[in-house]
């Protein structure tokens, strides 16, 4: 499978297979308004399969959000058709305004003026919990 390389932009590589649309959603990148290519379920030496997102544009990627939704992903910055920088997201200690708490008894379901906030509890298990009710975060 061949996809024309981008000249200036970014490549989000090693996205877990089948999740790239979801990753774009969390990164608040609208595929309807962005020049991008998605390669889904392609072969990966490291993970068996993966998705790749290529964006022909200077997009600011929130690495904290990417680390949260796709920990294994990498970000390549492309200039003039060459990769000039590689970025590796880290697991953020705290995430704000990315996902909603799924606990129906959480105060965030009734107090609409407060931000959804989660904190990292266990990095090996990728476990985040709601700041308010301690419910485990679910993507």
């Amino acid at each position: 499978m061949e996809v024309t390389s981008i000249q200036n932009g970014i490549i989000i590589d090693h996205v877990p297979a089948g999740t790239s649309l979801k990753v774009l959603e969390y990164l608040k990148i609208d595929p309807a308004k962005t020049k991008l290519a998605l390669i889904m379920n392609t072969t990966s030496k490291r993970f068996g399969s993966k998705d790749i997102i290529k964006i022909e544009d200077d997009k600011d990627i929130d690495l904290d959000v990417l680390g949260f939704v796709a920990r294994q992903a990498t970000v390549d910055v492309v200039r003039g058709g060459h990769i000039v920088e590689k970025k590796q997201p880290h697991l953020p200690e705290h995430i704000v305004g990315v996902i909603k708490c799924v606990n129906p008894r959480c105060v965030t379901t009734s107090e609409h003026d407060i931000k959804q906030m989660f904190h990292l509890v266990h990095s090996d298990r990728l476990e985040y919990r709601c700041d308010y009710c301690d419910e485990e975060a679910k993507l």
Binding site: R105, E111, I114
Partner: protein
Amino acid sequence: MIGKSVISLDDLSIAQIQDLLHKAQYIDAHRKEVSHTCEGRVLATLFYEPSTRTRLSFETAMLRLGGKVIGFAGAQLASVTKGETISDTLKTVSNYVDVVAIRHPKEGAALVASRAASVPVINAGDGGHMHPTQTLADLATLQSRFGRVNNLIVGLCGDLMFGRTVHSLIETLCRFGNVRFVLISPEELKTPQYVIDRINATPTCSYVEVRDLASVIGDLDVLYMTRVQKERFFNEDDYLRLRDTYILDEDKLSLAKPHMAVLHPLPRVNEIAVEVDDDPRAAYFEQVKNGMLVRMALESSVVGDDLPGYEPLNPKEVQA
């Protein structure tokens, strides 16, 4: 601790918890001397759901310190019915009072309140989440019965899955260390993994999970009873089969050590037979008294009023 909100016991250091327990004992022995400690202070009890026992305890605590109390009980009375947020209510009430105790059915409500308030907020129970002063009452009862809160074999019996008081007590005792837990529950109501993880992460603590109370009661220093609620079971047969296993009566108590303490967060339904009340090992009504004493200790501490004649345990650590 002056100006500090207490949403969970993790907000307090071990030294601060120990000092509160020490203060509670001092207050009990010096009730008259401390009766003017918070003169001129006002406590607001904002109870968005009814809880007569807890509200009376918070209010009595402030009254016994010489302060006054305002508040509401039941959200239907409050401006919440007009759509006011918790944050706005707290920003308003902060102008009236020196300390707030809040109870709310939503989990995390007390944290929202503390972030909006300009005075200390004490969590009096936020849904099934946290109820730190209940755990302080439990610890104060251990302290008064044994002179310590660790180096004990602590049995917890009944609904260990949904009981927040149980989780909070286990987690706090793990911070003190040197506790052996005996977790007595039906398979359906076993202790959640995150609580087990906390015990496993504490080298000086250990646990065993069992189903039968009678077979282990003789080993225990403390038996913390909880209610096994019918609605927690998937079918009624299981409930009926297990219900009686977790009722503490004189027969089972006869197998226990003479100085074991029986605790229960109350209210009970039928899990402790009334005949046990007269046994010297029954400590659950003492727990209620200790609840008021620790609330007195906490309210006076967060508003910054010193108890006359009281010497802190470790002043530097407590202030930290």
